[in-house]
Amino acid sequence: MSVWRITPRGVEPSGDRLTPIVESLDRRRAGLAKIPVDSLVALLADFSARLLRDPRTKSLEGCMFLSAWLGSDNLRRLLELNLNGNPSYLDGFVPYGRNYLAAKPQGLVAMWMAGNVATLPMFSLIPALLAKNVCLLKLAYPEPEGTDRLLAVLAESQAGDVRGADLLEAAAVVWFDYRNRELNEQMSLAADVKIIWGGAEAIKAITALPRREHCAEIVFGPKYSIGVIDRKKIQSDPEKLDQAVAGFVRDIAVFDQRACSAPQTIFVERNARLSLRELGGLFAKHLAKLPPKPGLDPYTTMQIVNVRAAWAMDEEKDVIASADGANWTVCLDRDVSLKQAVQSRTIFLSEVDSWQQVVPLLSPKVQTVGVAFGDRDDIITFAEVASQAGVARCVRPGLMNNHESPWDGKLLINQLVRWVMLKP
């Protein structure tokens, strides 16, 4: 059984075949290629402004950041970074020395989304459309979790004679059951590029689907993110430490800690000013200021209840937990390890003698490190070591979930174009 959500005009829902959608998208390729990239950026700037005004989207989680990300200055910077400094390569051949160079769309980009972040589909869809690819996007859940509202606002956006509704003719958003092997295969075989977001088993299954020889796969996830606070930070200005902790707590709260960029374990250097329990208390103070969560499923509730009990009972560990049910939890220990993610405002603070002890835990599995160090040179030293070990991002607390390019070490738009040389 399948459910089609948003498809180009004139394409009827079909239960067992993606072909009508794929054929419709193919017909939009030429039209999309003709839209100048500047017009696309202007259209997305209008979309950005509407997102914060429109009642359908303004209170959607992550919308504020999405709106900022869609701003023209940001998109231009992103395009320049991805396209050798010149977004015009997307509009046709540009002189390059004695020759010409162009960035052509890959074709059809098929996207399998994870269901953890409502705005996540936009961070694949927009780059793919900017690179003038047609898009077939499969949602994780039958309920679109806000994606439908975002697309409705995009459809109403306009800049000059470029309308959002026309742009969306080049995209189809679908859902079908993840076990539907036939539809997954059809989607994979239609793709020129596959973008896959999700957990380990989903990635394994989707990358195992048959695909065409030239089809590239871009995989996001699964990843784990951490924080590190050094003793200089803790022993320096208490206000700055408080700001850093407040930033970490924002990173913990956003998307209920389900994004791969959300910190799960934060390593703290032993110091002369604050005990681990006292630092935990500082996290607790900021966690207690968060608004209530919209709800919580029984499984995650039990995970929280279990981890609280396990940490409370262990002589070597400690825990600070909210009194109002399974709201927030700070688990304290001295184990130099990456703890099993519980999510939903559950943070593990682990005391270490030095951040050097954390280095053996770093690998390409670790996506983002929130770094709260007292000294800028130390941050760069840490970032050199961490990135060498495979870490994709090192950022200040508070910025961990801010989607940016590069993401997971990839310049996405760059991977969604084919570079073509012309030597006349």
């Binding site: 957990g199 088993e201 959300a262 919580l296 399974a326």
Partner: protein
């Protein structure tokens, strides 16, 4: 009401010995809270991990006003910790969960007092559902499952507990060399022939009763003349749900195989972490807590007690254990609070229904690094 001149032990004894379903919920809450304040403090004194749990995660026991104030210990902690409130020389038995879902089994240490209470408590509950007389007992399991010696599984404890009502015990299954169970049809047929239309008692684990007895009897087109049979069964609903077998299907087809009334098929809920405390279906299909125990349905997230009609996480309260901190346990099951003090069966107190095991319903996204995610098949 509770007689405050009695010692803690005497108070618990009085609850085990007295009528099991005659206390209104408010009265029962007050009685159990008073006992729990003292009992949990004693357990904590002798079980340092539980002491830390109470100190770090709950209000002081002196401040407990209702049973919902008692911080519930997750049952999974018995897999992670050996939680003993008595010295090793006082442990007479260790109970183990069957660990059917994989992973570490729970380990529950039992001292003489707890063992004694569990046996009599189970007898006290079953007497109210089955009557006091002994009768022929067919165990739909193998004799090995009943165990012997210092360790016992949940299955073994239940088989033995129900055995207190037996005038004769017959094991209707044999353990195969590969560990699987197979019905011993000649022995089963002989049991029913000898006790045709007499009151008989049967016990088995739900999934095994279904797959090894009911389905195979149907396949063999066999029906037994056991019109006065009472079958107690428990556990295994997750596997049955996977086969799309509902509780109604189970009851109807099992009663058909035995030629007995639907009311003769009694599902009960209980766990190895609280042996002796079982929640048997009443005539209205609801489960009631006996006098020495209670059930709380806690809402996910807030963990506050559910209102009538609300679904939540099942928490079990029992004042039986003296050797381990099993007084307030939050389970990994969901149930619905059906009502309080007004079940049509006449039993007082809150009553509930089990709904399902708590399971991870969906992939939790790219941040769920180490957990299992769903797979395209």
């Amino acid at each position: 009401m509770l007689d405050h001149s009695l010692t803690l032990e005497q108070q618990v004894e009085a609850l085990i010995r007295g009528p099991q379903y005659a206390m209104r919920q408010a009265e029962k809450d007050a009685v159990l809270t008073t006992i729990l304040r003292e009992l949990c403090a004693e357990i904590a004194e002798n079980c340092p991990p539980y002491d830390r749990f109470l100190r770090r995660l709950g209000p002081s026991s002196a401040d407990w006003q209702t049973i919902s104030d008692v911080p519930p210990l997750p049952v999974s902690m018995f897999k992670q910790f050996l939680l003993a409130a008595v010295p090793p020389e006082k442990i007479v038995r260790e109970l183990h969960s069957s660990s059917t879902s994989g992973g570490q089994p729970s380990r529950i240490v039992i001292d003489k007092t707890t063992a004694f209470r569990q046996t009599r408590a189970l007898a006290s509950i079953l007497k109210e559902h089955l009557g006091g007389h002994r009768r022929p007992y067919l165990v739909l399991d193998a004799e090995e499952s009943a165990g012997a010696g210092d360790t016992l599984t949940a299955r073994g404890a239940a088989i033995r507990g129900v055995g207190n009502f037996a005038s004769e015990t017959v094991y209707g299954m044999n353990k195969q060399p590969d560990g699987d169970m197979a019905a011993d049809w000649p022995r089963i047929e002989d049991f029913f022939q000898r006790h045709c239309h007499e009151p008989v008692l049967l016990f088995g684990f739900t999934f095994m009763v279904w797959t090894r007895f009911v389905e195979q009897s149907e396949r063999r087109a066999v029906k037994f003349q056991a019109s006065k049979a009472q079958l107690l069964h428990s556990g295994g609903w997750k596997k049955l749900a996977a086969q799309a077998v509902t509780k109604e299907d189970f009851t109807r087809r099992t009663a058909n195989v035995l030629s007995c009334d639907l009311g003769g098929i009694l599902d009960f809920y209980g766990m190895v972490e609280q042996v002796g405390t079982v929640f048997v279906d009443c005539e209205s299909g609801n489960k009631h807590a006996p006098a020495f125990a209670d059930v709380l349905i806690r809402r996910p997230y807030t963990l506050q007690p559910a209102e009538i009609g609300q679904t939540g996480i099942i928490e079990l309260i029992s004042v039986l254990p003296t050797s381990y901190p099993g007084q307030a346990l939050i389970t990994e099951d969901q149930g619905v609070l059906v009502g309080v003090d007004d079940c049509p069966c006449g039993r007082l107190g809150g009553y509930f229904r089990f709904t399902k095991r708590i399971e991870q319903a969906e992939t939790r996204g790219c941040g769920d690094t180490f957990a299992q995610a769903r797979e395209i098949r």
